[in-house]
């Protein structure tokens, strides 16, 4: 009996290490481990070797929040998607992938060059626009992002685009003025088309640690984030930060980025994601 206890505690230690190494975070890991120890004590789990499968399905059910195709069937076009997030996470590249995805469905896609600040940002989106065959609405570098957004909505409406995706500059959630700027873009879009933007995607980098939680919280407080795109899952990071974000903020993960090319976007699949945590 003593040996079985040792095996169990070794299995539990390994599991705790795996969860922490996946960036699931201390609080969520402790909650999972305490719940697990509880079940083992009450003999609700037969054996320690069933532990991983049990946790995997628990994580999967947390991540099963919100399904994907529910958002844009209930309003007139254009369907407007705003993309936000901190610096360098993959917003512009994700927009290119989304544009490609909708172009493959035969939709007309417009892109708004809403990053009027960073060097080369407008050119970067224009280059992508050529590659995926989407029209890019832009103004001069340094112009007001809200003005670009307004123009883009007007153009998308008058020229009957199916989809408009609005790129925004990277910004830290701790930068008050930049978060206010983001709120203004959001308002202006809604003024030109009530109900828009219909989707606000927060882009998170899978290599990010616990700071992602603060990012999700503050971006959601500023604008009505409707979903997450988790990028760079083609690296070695597991992206476990999304688990507490989905659980606590009720924000679904919509897409994952698995590379730098326009085809490297996948719909989020909770089962595959949960399984990958244990590889």
């Amino acid at each position: 009996l003593g040996e079985r206890k040792d095996i169990t505690s070794e299995i539990l230690d390994d599991l705790e290490e795996l969860l922490l190494l996946s960036d699931i975070g201390v609080t969520t890991t402790m909650r999972i481990m305490n719940g697990l120890r509880d079940k083992l004590r009450k003999n609700e789990i037969r054996d320690a070797c069933f532990v991983r499968g049990f946790i995997r399905s628990e994580i999967e059910s947390i991540l099963n929040y919100g399904s994907i195709d529910t958002l844009w069937e209930d309003h007139d076009p254009p369907h407007i998607i705003m993309v936000v997030g901190v610096n360098g996470v993959g917003k512009t590249t994700t927009i290119a992938k989304l544009a490609r995805h909708y172009r493959d469905q035969g939709k007309t896609v417009f892109l708004a060059a809403g990053d009027t600040f960073r060097a080369g940002a407008i050119q970067q989106l224009q280059e992508w626009g050529k590659r995926v065959n989407a029209e890019v609405i832009s103004q001069a570098e340094g112009s007001d992002p809200s003005a670009v957004a307004w123009d883009a909505v007007a153009a998308a409406k008058s020229r009957h685009a199916d989809i408009l995706i609005i790129d925004t500059a990277g910004r830290l959630h701790t930068q008050f003025n930049l978060m206010e700027e983001l709120k203004k873009v959001h308002r202006v879009v809604g003024k030109n088309m009530p109900g828009a933007p219909h989707e606000i995607l927060l882009v998170l980098d899978a290599t990010t640690g616990q700071n992602a939680v603060a990012q999700a919280r503050l971006f959601s407080e500023a604008v009505r984030v409707t979903g997450i795109a988790l990028t760079k899952l083609d690296g070695t990071a597991k992206g476990g930060i999304v688990i507490s974000i989905v659980n606590d903020l009720k924000l679904p993960v919509r897409y994952i980025g698995i590379g730098e090319r326009m085809d490297d976007l996948r719909d989020f699949d909770p089962r595959t994601f949960a399984a990958a945590l244990f590889e």
Binding site: R118, Q124, G170, T207, T208, Q210, N211, K232, G235, K238
Partner: protein
């Protein structure tokens, strides 16, 4: 915060007592949690806690400090030691031009940091040149050229039809001809597990013999920091690290992870998107930030 948590752990321990394995076990558990919450890598935390325990056990509790403060003091000192007390200067080549190569994962802040470095070198009276070796990312060359114009530093950019190794080699040759004394290589972001692209970096290194190979790492990186740092260091024998986006509120435990697995110094930190200079790394400030 950690100080409060340690105060409550030690509320029954008074001055003149000794810190024993028993009475600091609870405290070390709290420190471990704080470090994990700060994104320090799991295995790095384990090693660190053992080191702290060795230093702390047997210590007398000073009259002027509470036991909790005593433990924090030991933890803080140990952290600063690990993060690197000695100020690591930027290396210059014995014969100009000095080559500085920036490498790292996608989006970590390499291009921006290249420009910040160039601007600083120029202010110091050096003659820097930027080399646009990222031929993959759309408009990467435009980005570097725009930054070069902003800071009035020449950008060597033969375009996307030339391979990056050749770009760096010929950039260095051009620099020698034109009296440039510092060449800054902006390389494309890449995954540490991309064998072909890591080999590209090794080729650039062998052809240009950089005095500095700086890993540019995002301060908000999580547990993966050790894998990234270890790979880049094994492949390139980096000379140091630039930690970016420290103007955010990430605790920055990645700094400890990276330093711990590579032994290489964190030389500079990025504190913003504008082209203000990279700042010198302060291990004591970083230690306090990590501990929260």
């Amino acid at each position: 915060n950690l100080t409060d948590r340690l105060q409550s752990v030690f509320k029954t321990l008074r001055g003149h007592a000794k810190l024993t394995e028993g009475n600091i076990a609870e405290a070390l558990r709290e420190v471990r949690l704080a470090l994990l919450e700060a994104d320090v890598n799991f295995k790095v935390v384990k090693r660190f806690i053992n080191q702290v325990q060795e230093r702390a056990v047997g210590k007398e509790v000073f009259k002027s400090l509470t036991p909790g403060q005593q433990v924090i003091k030991i933890v803080h000192e140990e952290l600063v030691d690990l993060l690197g007390r000695e100020k690591a200067a930027m290396v210059r080549a014995p014969m100009p031009p000095t080559v500085v190569m920036l490498v790292g994962l996608q989006g970590s802040g390499k291009t921006t940091s290249c420009a910040k470095l160039a601007k600083t070198f120029k202010k110091e009276g050096r003659q820097p040149m930027l080399v646009a070796a990222d031929i993959y990312r759309p408009a990467a060359i435009d980005q570097l050229k725009t930054l070069g114009t902003q800071i009035d530093v020449p950008v060597y950019a033969p375009g996307t039809d030339i391979n990056p190794v050749e770009i760096c080699e010929s950039g260095l040759a051009a620099a020698k001809r034109e009296g440039i004394d510092t060449v800054i290589l902006d390389t494309a972001g890449r995954l540490h597990i991309d064998r072909a692209l890591m080999d590209e970096l090794r080729n650039i290194k062998s052809k240009t013999n950089p005095s500095e190979i700086l890993l540019v790492a995002d301060a908000m990186t999580g547990q993966d920091a050790v894998n990234i740092a270890q790979s880049f260091n094994n492949d390139l024998d980096i000379s140091g690290v630039i930690l970016t986006k420290l103007d955010g509120d990430a605790r920055g435990g990645a700094a400890l992870s990276i330093k711990s697995v590579t032994g290489k110094p964190i030389k500079l930190v990025g504190m913003g998107e504008k082209l203000d200079p990279l700042e010198v790394f302060h291990p004591d400030r970083m230690a306090s930030r990590i501990l929260g």
